[in-house]
C-alpha cells in the first residue's frame, strides 16, 4: 500500500520535473517574447502543480496538505495574471 | 548556569539616558510640527542632567556603572557599561548637542501657527537620534548592540547632510551613506567572526577569552577597517569634506565634533577593551602611520581651500589623524601609556569643542556676509568681532598653542612619544601644529586686514555667545585638574582583561 503511494508520488513529481524542463526549453528556444511567455505560463504552473500533487499524500496534517494546495493556487493565480500583464504590456509597446 | 546580575547602583541611569532621546524621537514624529522642536529642546536639560549624574556616579564609585538589561547577565543578555571615558564623552556630547540645538533655533524653528516643514522635522528628530546613538555607543557593552547604534548614527547623520536638498549635497550624502554602509557591514562581519570564535559579544567576556589567533586578527582587521571608513581616516577620508561642509552649520558642528568621534570611540573600545591582550604593536604602528599621513594631507588640503567651511572640514580630516596616534602611544601597560591615553581622550574633547565652535561661527559668518569665501573676508573681523574671536580661539586649540585643550593633548602626545622612545611620532604632531597655524592665519589675516564689508544682517548675540562658549570650553580643557585624568582611567583594562 505504501509502495503504491510512493509510486504515485514519484510519477507525479517526475511529470512535474518534466514540465519544468519543457518550460525552460521553451523559454530558451522559442523565437519571441510572446511565445516564450506562453511556454513559461503553461509549463511552470503544471510543473509546480504536479509536484504539489505528488507531495500531497505525504503531508502529515490537514494543515500541511492545505498549505500545499494554497501554494499551488497562489502560483496559478499569479502566473495567469502576470502572463496577461506581460502580454498586454508587450502588445502595447515593445520594451 | 546563569551568571549573577552585574547591575550596579546607578545603572538604571544608563537605560534612561538612552530611552529618553528614543522617546523624544517617537513623540516628535507623532506630534510633528512645532512640537518636534519643543520636545527636542525640552529634553535637552534632562539629557544633560542624566549625563552629569552618570559621570558623578562613575567618579564617586571609582568603578564602572553597569546595567544588565532584562536582568539577564551577558552572554545571553545585553549589558550597558559606563566607565570614566564614557562618562566624560557623555557629558561632552550633551553640552555640544545642547549648544547646537539652541543655536539651530534661528534656522529650524517653526513659527507659531506655521505648518510642519520638512527641514524642521528632519533636523529636530535626527538631532535626537544622534544623541541616542552616541549614548549607546559610549555605554554599550555588546558588540552587536553597538552595531545597531552605528546604524542609528548613520541614518541620523545622512539626512542632515542633504537637508537643504541641493544636488551637490545629495551627492555628498549619498557618498557618505555608501561609505558608512560599507563601514557597518564590515564591522558586522567582524562581529560574526567574534561570535563564531567565542560565543559571546560582551566586551569584558570577550576580553577574557581572546587570544592571538587568525580569526581574531581577521575580525579585528574587518571591524577596524569598517570603523576607519566611518571615521574618515586617511585614505578613506574622501567623503567627509563635502558632507561636512555642505550641511547646515549646526549639523556640521555635530557631525564634525561628535559623529565621527562615535566610530573612533568604538575603535578605541575594540583595541583597548576587547583586545588588550593582543600583541598589537604592529597594528598600532600602522594606525599611527595612517594618522600621521592624515595630519599632513588634511592640513595641506585645508591650506588650499577657498571656502571657510571646506577649510574647517579638511582640518577635521587632519585632527582625526591625531586621534590615531593614541594607538602606538597608549598600547600596552607601560608608565607612558597612561599619558598617551590621556592625550587621546583630551584630543577627542578639545577637537570636539573647538571644531563645533568654529563651524557654528562659520555659519554665523556665512549668514552675515552671504558667502564664506576666504579671499573676500577683508575687514570682516571688525564687523564681526565676537565671531572672529571664537574662530581664533578655536584655531588656537587646533594649533596646539597654550593655554588650550589642544595644547594639553599635543603636549601629552609629545611626552608619551619621548617617554616611550617612539620619537617618530613627534614629527607629525609638530608638523601638524605648524600647518594648522598656517590655515588658521589664512582665515584671520584677511579678516583682520582693512576692507569694506557689508553685513546682510548682524548675527544674533545669543548665537555668537553659544559658539564662543564652546570655544572657551576648548580652552578651559587646558586647565583640567589631575582628578579629570584620574577619571579617564576608571574601568580601563590594562592588559589581558585586568581591570584597574
Amino acid at each position: 500500500m505504501i509502495a503504491l503511494v510512493d509510486l504515485f508520488s514519484l510519477a507525479a513529481i517526475g511529470a512535474g520535473v518534466f514540465f519544468f524542463f519543457a518550460g525552460t526549453v521553451g523559454l530558451l528556444r522559442f523565437p519571441d517574447s510572446l511565445t516564450r511567455l506562453h511556454a513559461l505560463a503553461k509549463a511552470d504552473n503544471l510543473g509546480l502543480g504536479l509536484v504539489a500533487l505528488g507531495l500531497l499524500p505525504r503531508a502529515d496534517t490537514a494543515l500541511a496538505a492545505l498549505k500545499l494546495i494554497v501554494i499551488w493556487a497562489l502560483v496559478l493565480l499569479s502566473g495567469a495574471s502576470t502572463a496577461q500583464l506581460i502580454g498586454r504590456a508587450l502588445r502595447r509597446g515593445r520594451k | 548556569m546563569m551568571a549573577p546580575d552585574p547591575t550596579t547602583p546607578g545603572g538604571s541611569l544608563l537605560v534612561l539616558a538612552i530611552l529618553l532621546p528614543c522617546a523624544g524621537i517617537i513623540l516628535s514624529f507623532v506630534l510633528g510640527g512645532r512640537n518636534a522642536e519643543r520636545v527636542a529642546l525640552g529634553l535637552t536639560p534632562f539629557g544633560f542632567a542624566l549625563a552629569c549624574a552618570i559621570a558623578f556616579h562613575v567618579a564617586s564609585a571609582g568603578k564602572p556603572v553597569v546595567y544588565a538589561l532584562g536582568g539577564l547577565a551577558p552572554p545571553l543578555g545585553i549589558a550597558l557599561r559606563a566607565d570614566g571615558v564614557s562618562a566624560v564623552m557623555l557629558v561632552a556630547a550633551a553640552v555640544i548637542l545642547t549648544a547646537a540645538s539652541f543655536y539651530a533655533r534661528a534656522k529650524f524653528a517653526t513659527p507659531e501657527g506655521a505648518p510642519e516643514s520638512r527641514i524642521a522635522l528632519t533636523f529636530w528628530i535626527m538631532l535626537q537620534a544622534i544623541w541616542a546613538a552616541l549614548t549607546i555607543i559610549f555605554v554599550g557593552g555588546d558588540l552587536f548592540n553597538l552595531y545597531v547604534a552605528l546604524e542609528l548614527l548613520t541614518f541620523a547623520a545622512v539626512p542632515l547632510v542633504c537637508i537643504d536638498g541641493r544636488p551637490e549635497t545629495l551627492a555628498a550624502a549619498l557618498r557618505y551613506l555608501l561609505f558608512a554602509l560599507f563601514g557597518s557591514i564590515s564591522y558586522l562581519l567582524g562581529v560574526a567572526l567574534f561570535y563564531g570564535a567565542y560565543g559571546t559579544l560582551d566586551i569584558p567576556l570577550l576580553a577574557q577569552k581572546v587570544q592571538s589567533t587568525p580569526i581574531v586578527w581577521m575580525a579585528a582587521a574587518l571591524m577596524t577597517g569598517g570603523l576607519l571608513a566611518k571615521t574618515a581616516l586617511f585614505p578613506l577620508h574622501l567623503w567627509l569634506p563635502p558632507a561636512h561642509a555642505n550641511a547646515p552649520a549646526a549639523a556640521s558642528a555635530v557631525l564634525s565634533g561628535l559623529v565621527v568621534k562615535g566610530s573612533f570611540f568604538l575603535t578605541l573600545r575594540l583595541w583597548f577593551y576587547v583586545l588588550p591582550a593582543l600583541p598589537a604593536a604592529g597594528a598600532a604602528n600602522i594606525l599611527g602611520a595612517l594618522g600621521s599621513a592624515a595630519i599632513i594631507v588634511g592640513s595641506v588640503l585645508a591650506l588650499r581651500q577657498a571656502r571657510l567651511k571646506l577649510l574647517i572640514a579638511y582640518s577635521t580630516v587632519a585632527q582625526i589623524g591625531y586621534l590615531f596616534l593614541v594607538f602606538p602611544l597608549a598600547m600596552g601597560a607601560h608608565v607612558w601609556s597612561d599619558i598617551g591615553w590621556s592625550a587621546g581622550v583630551m584630543q577627542i574633547l578639545a577637537h570636539a569643542f573647538a571644531k563645533a565652535a568654529m563651524f557654528l561661527s562659520a555659519g554665523l559668518l556665512a549668514e552675515a556676509l552671504g558667502h564664506d569665501q576666504i579671499a573676500r573676508l577683508g575687514g570682516a573681523a571688525r564687523a564681526l568681532p565676537m565671531t572672529f574671536l571664537t574662530l581664533g580661539l578655536g584655531g588656537l586649540s587646533l594649533m596646539g598653542l597654550p593655554p588650550s585643550g589642544g595644547f594639553s593633548a599635543k603636549w601629552l602626545m609629545l611626552q608619551a612619544s619621548v617617554a616611550s622612545g617612539q620619537w617618530v611620532w613627534t614629527l607629525p604632531v609638530l608638523a601638524g601644529g605648524l600647518l594648522a597655524a598656517g590655515y588658521v592665519y589664512r582665515i584671520l589675516t584677511p579678516a583682520l586686514s582693512e576692507g569694506d564689508i557689508v553685513l546682510k544682517a548682524p548675527p544674533k548675540r545669543s548665537r555668537e555667545a553659544i559658539a564662543l562658549g564652546l570655544a572657551l570650553i576648548a580652552l578651559a580643557l587646558g586647565f583640567a585638574p589631575q582628578g579629570f585624568f584620574d577619571l579617564l582611567e576608571i574601568g580601563r583594562p590594562l592588559a589581558a582583561g585586568t581591570l584597574r
Binding site: - | D164, A171, L174, K309
Partner: protein, 113 residues
C-alpha cells in the same frame, strides 16, 4: 563537505565580489547592489555560525539567527534610503555621479550656512 562549510565559502566569495563591485562601479545603484551582496555574504557567515552552534536539542544557535533577521531589515532600510537619494539626485540634476569634482561649480561664493 558539510553544507555549512560550503555556505561559508559562498559567503566569503560574496563578500569578495561585492567589495570588488563597490570599489569599481561608478554608478551608485550598482554600488548599492554590490553592498547588498556583501551584506548577504555577511549574513551567511552568521548563518553558518548559528548552524555550527547546534546544541542542547536545537539544530541551530538562535542568537546569530536573530541577529541576521535584524540585519536584513536594517539593510533594506539602508537600500531604501540610498534609492531615495539616487532618484532625487537624478531628478534634480539629471546625473547620478558621485565624483565630488563634478559638483564643484565655478565658485560664486554663495555659501549656504
Amino acid at each position: 563537505m558539510s553544507p555549512w562549510v560550503l555556505a561559508g565559502l559562498v559567503g566569503a566569495a560574496l563578500v569578495g565580489l561585492g567589495l570588488y563591485g563597490l570599489i569599481l562601479h561608478p554608478h551608485p545603484l550598482r554600488k548599492l547592489l554590490a553592498f547588498n551582496l556583501i551584506g548577504s555574504g555577511v549574513f551567511l557567515v552568521f548563518g553558518i555560525v548559528a548552524r555550527r552552534g547546534a546544541a542542547a536539542g536545537f539544530s541551530f544557535d538562535p542568537i546569530p539567527q536573530a541577529m541576521v533577521i535584524t540585519g536584513i531589515v536594517v539593510a533594506f532600510a539602508a537600500s531604501a534610503l540610498a534609492v531615495a537619494l539616487i532618484l532625487r539626485l537624478h531628478a534634480e540634476s539629471g546625473r547620478v555621479t558621485l565624483d565630488p569634482e563634478a559638483w564643484t561649480k565655478p565658485d560664486d561664493g554663495a555659501a549656504k550656512s
